[in-house]
């Protein structure tokens, strides 16, 4: 596992998400209403759309194009047309920096 510093905690709005690109891959990093931070694969499993542009409500992110939804803590697909789960990655906060294990 390769731990990478992705951003500062303050870069992410509470109940929001940002996109994080690393190598040739793209990820989404979420800051939950309780300030916990989570990381998933960046693209919706239905079509290659960046989930970081979707609406984050509670612990759910919704694809900005087709409204498929996921629990970003577990990657579970919650609503059609998304039916395949998202991959998730471990996250830690070190001195205000968000680190993800890719």
């Amino acid at each position: 596992m390769n731990w990478v510093t992705a951003c500062k905690l303050d870069d992410i709005e509470q109940e929001g998400a940002i996109r994080f690109d690393h190598g040739s891959r793209t990820y989404a990093i979420y800051r939950a209403p309780d300030d916990s931070v989570w990381c998933t694969a960046g693209l919706c499993t239905h079509e290659a759309i960046h989930l970081s542009e979707g609406l984050v409500m509670d612990f759910e992110v919704e694809c900005p194009k087709h409204s498929g939804a996921f629990d970003y803590r577990t990657g579970e697909a919650l609503r059609l047309p998304a039916c395949e789960n998202l991959r998730t990655y471990p996250v830690e906060i070190v001195e205000g920096e968000v680190r993800v294990a890719l």
Binding site: E47, H50, G54, M57, E62, P64, H66
Partner: protein
């Protein structure tokens, strides 16, 4: 045992087939598609991958098998016998308990001389033919969503594009005028030529002769003048039709054993009249309701209309039905903007245009505000410092 039969295996019919199973129905489900191959999504057709038209299946055969859906591709239905509840298929027949007509819509055809030379853009086969033929200058007839999306696609490939429109402006049907103007300006900046208020005298192998006598040189002419609902089967079977197959709010046709949904259905409205919508989301939303009501439900269709369009790097989204006469409040949003529409103080619609999917989040929040029956103060609504999410939480707490 006679089961549920669905005519039309597009987004609507396919969703309905799965929804019947999700509702717990365990009798036979038959899904009849006119085209060969697996059911596929239409929106990606105008977003090809390289030079190839994308054929993205809505579901794999394994998913159809797992759900016990008897999918019959490449099959046409010749007639509906409502007395015996039987369909006549080519060479066979099929009885139904409940029938869903989800035959969609087909391209409206030009009637001018040479109309046959113009290609349609509706099916995967159409998209493939257009992409192969689009090697030199292209003339697109019709400045609606499909025409404008194709113009953007072809300009992106460096092809000279001329758009010819009978009306005075582009996108006049579904897009609010200020956003239609913004998109039009972008097309002009990208080098698209436009002719408005122009009829067609004739189409020939070298291009299009306009009513004015001017000639637009083109090696390929695309016809994108809208669609007409596919009502032929319903009409022949004696079902009530107008601009679409007429249904009540529950999506039942004039025969209670037959339902209609998606592009082909004109649904009774609370204020009177019928409304027919053409969009991906509507096809899916109506499929869900139709499936539940085929199984004895009594749910009215009441989902908000929503659609998107991608042109160049710009994304447009519209929710609800923005109309002249409503109060419009505009919020700046990064490099884009969104407009919200109020009718007698009630939030009823929103429309946004910006790079990529940048306006999607706020349009979704606006949709939730509309669904919550929100009556926001226009001054607060116009203030970019006040987030729509905060407004939604206030509206829901009230």
């Amino acid at each position: 045992m006679n089961g549920m039969v669905i005519i039309g295996a597009g987004e609507c019919g396919t969703r309905a087939a799965f929804a019947l199973r999700e509702q717990g129905y365990d009798g036979p489900v038959t899904l009849i598609g006119a085209e060969a191959g697996l059911p596929y999504e239409r929106p990606p057709l105008s977003k090809p991958d390289g030079g190839q038209a994308i054929r993205k299946p809505i579901c794999e055969q394994a998913a159809l098998d797992a759900a016990g859906i008897d999918y019959r591709p490449g099959m046409s239905v010749e007639a509906i016998d409502r007395q015996t509840r039987t369909l006549t298929l080519t060479g066979s027949s099929l009885a139904y308990e409940r029938l869903l007509i989800a035959t969609g819509a087909r391209p409206r055809r030009l009637t001018c001389p040479g109309a046959k030379l113009a290609l349609d853009f509706r099916t995967h086969a159409d998209a493939s033919a257009v992409l192969v033929a689009a090697t030199g200058p292209v003339a697109i007839i019709g400045a609606g969503l499909i025409g404008m999306e194709l113009a953007a696609l072809l300009r992106g490939r460096g092809i000279k594009v001329t758009v010819i429109e009978a009306g005075p402006a582009p996108l006049s049907r579904a897009v609010p005028p200020h956003l239609a103007t913004a998109l039009h300006d972008r097309h002009i900046a990208e080098g698209v030529d436009f002719h408005f208020g122009q009829g067609i005298q004739q189409i020939n192998p070298n291009g299009v002769t306009l009513a004015s006598g001017d000639h637009v040189a083109a090696g390929l002419v695309i016809s994108a003048i809208g669609v007409i609902p596919d009502t032929a089967l319903a009409q022949t079977a004696g079902l009530a039709t107008g601009n679409g197959i007429l249904t009540d709010a529950r999506l039942a046709t004039s025969d209670p054993a037959i339902f209609a949904a998606g592009d082909c259905a004109a649904v009774a409205q609370p204020g009177g009249g019928h409304m027919r919508l053409e969009s991906w989301r509507n096809a899916r939303d109506q499929a869900q309701i139709a499936a539940r009501n085929m199984l004895g439900g009594t749910e009215d269709f009441a989902a908000l209309h929503w659609f998107w369009s991608d042109q160049y790097d710009l994304g447009l989204q519209v929710v609800g039905l923005p109309k002249a006469g409503q109060e419009m409040v505009t919020r700046p949003l990064g490099d884009g903007q969104i407009s919200l529409y109020l009718a007698d103080g009630l939030l009823v619609a929103a429309a946004g245009l910006g790079p990529g999917n940048s306006i999607a989040r706020d349009i979704r929040l606006a949709e939730m505000l509309i669904a919550a029956g929100s009556r926001p103060d226009p001054k607060v609504l116009a203030d970019p410092a006040v987030g729509l999410k905060a407004l939604l939480k206030t509206a829901r707490a009230a």
